[in-house]
């Protein structure tokens, strides 16, 4: 069977990850979120379950802000440290362009994020069925949530991949991922212009649901807001630019 150059390179990238069990990383994070949902909804009152989807679309982006930067950092690190440890770049760059290597590595990492996001949609749909949420799911809301989660994690992946490939040790990129998780969470309490500077906080920067908590009645009310499409598109463009910059940094580095 004749394979195209790109197919061959992607296949090689796939084979490099053999025995690494990288899929366990997103699976562990997925399991954590599933357990959190089970705990959340089994302890919820029946009236709270009526707004189950709205609650999910409010809470999940915040949880993603905490866990996703770490998950993306670990995936990028697992994929890249084999190249650093084995000093393979000096061989690989004689077989493929550095740009192509960066792209294939990125797609290998993106694959896990696609599966993780797809898993999220199943988790949300399953929660609705199992816990009998009151209102039906708005597909547009689900798509918006998945788009923000995937897009933000893909932007972070470019950044983490760049750091993992230019560092001799994976401590620095993993520390940045961990610090990003905290910074992202804190950025939710920053003034909007300052929060915009923290890319780890973008998981929760485009809400389609907001919350109103009444101090007197101690009742939380979730309500829909229009999705900030323009802001999201600007972020997506910024993400593409960041990817290009990261790619240039890695490919310009002399071996």
């Amino acid at each position: 069977m004749m394979l195209s150059t790109l197919q061959r390179r992607l296949w090689a990238e796939q084979k490099k990850s053999k025995h690494r069990r990288i899929w366990l990383i997103p699976f562990a994070f997925f399991l954590f979120e599933a357990l959190w949902m089970i705990w959340q909804f089994t302890s919820a009152h029946t009236e709270e379950l009526t707004t189950g989807y709205l609650m999910l679309f409010y809470d999940l982006p915040i949880i993603n802000t905490i866990i996703m930067p770490i998950m993306v950092a670990v995936i990028a690190s697992r994929l890249c440290d084999m190249e650093i440890k084995g000093e393979t770049l000096k061989l690989l760059y004689t077989l493929q362009e550095p740009e192509s290597f960066f792209d294939c590595k990125y797609l290998a990492g993106a694959k896990y994020l696609f599966f993780f996001t797809a898993g999220h949609s199943i988790l949300i749909l399953a929660s609705g069925r199992i816990f009998h949420f009151g209102y039906s799911l708005k597909i547009s809301m689900l798509i918006e949530y998945l788009a923000v989660t995937l897009c933000t994690s893909l932007v972070l992946l470019a950044l983490q991949q760049m750091m993992s490939l230019i560092s001799n040790s994976q401590i620095m990129p993993l520390t940045v991922g961990l610090a990003g998780s905290f910074l992202g969470l804190f950025s939710l309490f920053f003034p909007a212009p300052l929060a915009r500077l923290v890319i780890w906080g973008y998981f929760a920067a485009f809400p389609c649901v907001k919350m109103d908590w009444d101090r007197a009645t101690r009742i939380t009310e979730f309500y829909e807001v229009p999705f900030p499409l323009v802001g999201f598109l600007i972020f997506a463009v910024f993400g593409i630019l960041l990817f290009i910059i990261c790619r240039i940094i890695v490919t310009r580095k002399e071996i």
Partner: protein, 304 residues
């Protein structure tokens, strides 16, 4: 003999420091080209320049008759194999799995794996994880990787580094067999004269980024032809007598040297000196070692 590698004023600078200085390499086809120089002379940088891993500040490179550009670099390198500094490998995979990845990237049939494993004598260890390999086995795997697809040109940077004496011998035999067995040209860099002496057919000596010698190994050995040293009680008078009798001789560093090798000419010189009343303390033959030649060429003592 056509040249497989030709460089023209190849230069690499890092800031103000010139690491490779106007190098004009000429590597003949089917030769084993020993690229010799002390540590830090610019050998690895030169090989990386040839492979396009770093960009030259100045100069051109021609490999297998084609000028190397950013566009055709990979097409040209498809006909080369390389082992730079240390073997590249994925430790969590077996030797065979490593070779499979490179086969895929090189677009070489998977059946080549068995062939290269046999050449480097690694058939039995092919299913073992590379992280469990000894350095020698990793080095042999690196060579097997370079041999995949039987390239026309092989660039090996210090391939015996870190190997034990038996491993060095084995690697050396392997490299020496390649031009005949696989019709290849091999460029092998080393900082060890003895190693190059035992492997190479051609030699390039680099020091401080400059190529100070490039020719066949036998030409290099020309330098090492023996000299007849005379110890007399009056060197200046002896020089005068020899000069008058048209017997080539030289005097430097307090040593009188006869530049003749025929036994009868040496006997004539001794007779002349004795008749002239010059006392001869000693007469002996001195062989110039490759190390001496290297020191003579570089003009200084370097760590070898």
């Amino acid at each position: 003999m056509s040249s497989v590698i030709l460089t023209d004023s190849l230069t690499k600078q890092y800031g103000k420091k010139t690491v490779v200085d106007s190098l004009d390499l000429k590597v003949p086809a089917r030769s084993i080209y020993g690229f010799l120089g002390p540590n830090g002379a610019g050998k690895s940088t030169t090989l990386k320049l040839l492979l396009g891993l770093i960009k030259p500040t100045e100069g051109n490179i021609r490999i297998l008759g084609q000028k190397v550009t950013q566009k055709n670099r990979l097409n040209i390198l498809a006909q080369t194999g390389s082992l730079i500094e240390s073997p590249a490998y994925y430790g969590h995979l077996s030797g065979k799995e490593n070779l499979r990845i490179i086969c895929t990237l090189k677009n070489v049939p998977l059946r080549c794996i068995d062939q290269v494993l046999a050449i480097v004598r690694m058939t039995e260890q092919q299913n073992k994880k590379v992280s469990q390999y000894s350095l020698g086995m990793k080095q042999r795997l690196g060579l097997a990787t370079a041999l995949l697809g039987m390239p026309k040109l092989l660039l090996l940077d210090e391939p015996t580094n870190g190997l034990d004496p038996a491993g060095i011998q084995e690697m050396r035999e392997l490299i020496c067999s390649l031009p005949q067995k696989c019709n290849m040209t091999v460029v092998v860099s080393s900082h060890l004269l003895s190693e190059i002496d035992q492997m190479a057919t051609h030699v390039g000596i680099i020091d401080q980024g400059q190529l100070i010698f490039q020719d066949t190994l036998s030409s290099l050995h020309e330098y090492s032809r023996s000299r007849i040293i005379l110890r007399t009680n009056n060197d200046s008078a002896a020089m005068k007598v020899l000069k008058q009798s048209h017997i080539p001789a030289g005097w430097s560093e307090n040593t009188l040297t006869l530049k003749v090798h025929q036994e009868n000419r040496i006997a004539d010189a001794v007779t002349l000196l004795v008749h002239a009343g010059i006392g001869i303390h000693r007469i002996y033959e001195q062989q110039m070692s490759l190390e001496d030649i290297f020191l003579h060429l570089t003009g200084k003592k370097v760590s070898l």
